[in-house]
Amino acid sequence: MPISIIDEFKIRRLEVLDESGEADAELMPPFDGNEIKKIFERIILARTFNQRALSLQREGRLGTYASILGQEASQVGSAIAFEQSDWIFPSFRETGVLLALGYPAWQLFRYWSGDERGMSAPDGLNIFPMSVPVGSQIPHATGTAMAMKIRGAKSASAVYFGDGASSRGDFHEALNLAGVFKAPAVFLCQNNQWAISVPRHLQTAAKTIAQRAFGYGIEGIQVDGNDVFAVYRATKDALNRAKSGQGATLIECFTYRLDDHTTSDDSSRYRSAEEVEEWKKKEPLIRLRLFMKKKGLWTQAYEDGVAGNALSEIDKAISQAENYPPPDKADIIRFTNARLTLRQKKELKTLGWEK
């Protein structure tokens, strides 16, 4: 047969919780009421951090900040699937992931105020500093996953990145390497439809990002990124595959960036208010509330209590961050390498930074 079909691929999309708050019984992860409440509380915490960060930035108390509004389900839903020994490689828009994993909020405020010390994850939390060069962190996750495999660890590494990042060569090389080495890696693309002003359809002519997985011989799936249960399920499945030696997975969380790209951006220059309004109706908290209400897990009073707790936790973190002594200038030099060079010792002296 001169034109033959040598292979076929189907791009799957996973949805569990629909916009009316109805969950698919078969696919619904086996969460009990308390676990679901904890998910809700983590989303509220992330959103509270986000709101406070945005206002602090406006007040000049933080530097440029990247809002996660609308992406909380993609972030919290995936984060809660990890185990302590897994490694996480975040981009700069992963506040929800980091908080859900227990990264101290005050440290995150320090980071966003332009202080390296905020990037030093507490011991026991294997969270790499957020990567600023878009996509460049993806190969690190492949490497860590390869190392886990070499060491025989039953762990996985996961990396977060955006739709924009998926256009970078780093994405390609990292996913291909992960495929070849059957590395226990999970590639979590947060497709929030925009890379600053570039909409998804101008980022790539492919219909989905998930379908790229086939080009690397790894698993790929798109999930409704505003559906916290679907994101959890896909991530958990991917982690299980990874840890049982079945290799890597690319998960495309189909979500939306409701705010400006960062506090330096003005998204009204390039997208319509209508588009944003449409997506606001789909934001993750609405459907989770509906679901919880049906299950008797949600009342307004409950949410008010959660929000109040979150606000006081975040405000405590802010004052902790703001009351911390400013960084030592000598640290600029001191952490370059394990040991100071003679030149650096001289510099510390000349600059008057020596203690």
Partner: protein, 320 residues
Amino acid sequence: MAKLNIVQAINSALKNEMKRNSDVVLLGEDIGRDGGVFRVTEGLLEIFGPERVIDTPLAELGIIGSAIGMAAYGLKPVAEIQFMAFSYAGLEQIFSHAGRIRSRSRGRFTCPIVVRMPYGIGIKAPELHSESAEALFCHMPGIKVVVPSSPYNAKGLLTSALRDPDPVIFLEPSRLYRSIKTDVPDEDYAIPLGKAAIYQEGKDITVVAWGAMLHRAAEASAGFDAEIIDLMTLKPFDEEAILNSVRKTGRLVIAHEATRSGGLGAEIAALVAEEAVMHLKAPVIRVAGPEAVTPMAKLEDAYMPQIDRIRKAFATVMEF
């Protein structure tokens, strides 16, 4: 003649040249509808349309690599990289292709691209938004490197870059983007590449600087009879201007933001050590960033050489 800042001056150079030469096309992330993250290309999409002001996917290697292909075909592509650090992904394209294609094809193919990017410390943006790695580009053959220090020379130098037959890396000091306004003619004008400007005449100390440091050096010179050279083109730089000045003053201070070791200051100091060392009345001093990566916002001001450090260098060479 209008008072413009550097952002506007660059915009004006691009606009004029795009009108004059239909081969000029711009490409980069967010340069179209958004007008660029610094608004340098604001309004150009509306005038020249999406075929000449091209919003690209997030792919610096691809942007620079495809610009090379465009240039080979006969266009004059101007790529914008959002911040200098993000050009690192495209360095292979610049070093192994843009800078070599004329030589390796013995002139059969050329690469008249311009790669524009903001650089340097000073706007308290996130990590890796404050790099001063100009020395990387200055070392590798076949590439010109230009840094303006004022709206007026930004327009004139960019116009020359846009007419240059070879690849030009055009580094825009982000710290200065909106902080200085000067008179800038509406019409186009070219300031030749490879020539430095005497920013301030003086008898006692030759000071070489560029971009944002030029202004710090000038401020620091109060009370000293310093000749301040605005290098403007970093590669190939104006050796004669420096040597003539050093032969006159006998003292050389170089000020740059980049980490000292292997920064462009080294090449300038080495030139003088080779060709005018016997004129020196004092050791050369480089006032430069320390042996460390550029820190985040809270410490970036501490990293950048301060006026008092420059003054101390002036005092040291005078007292020697």
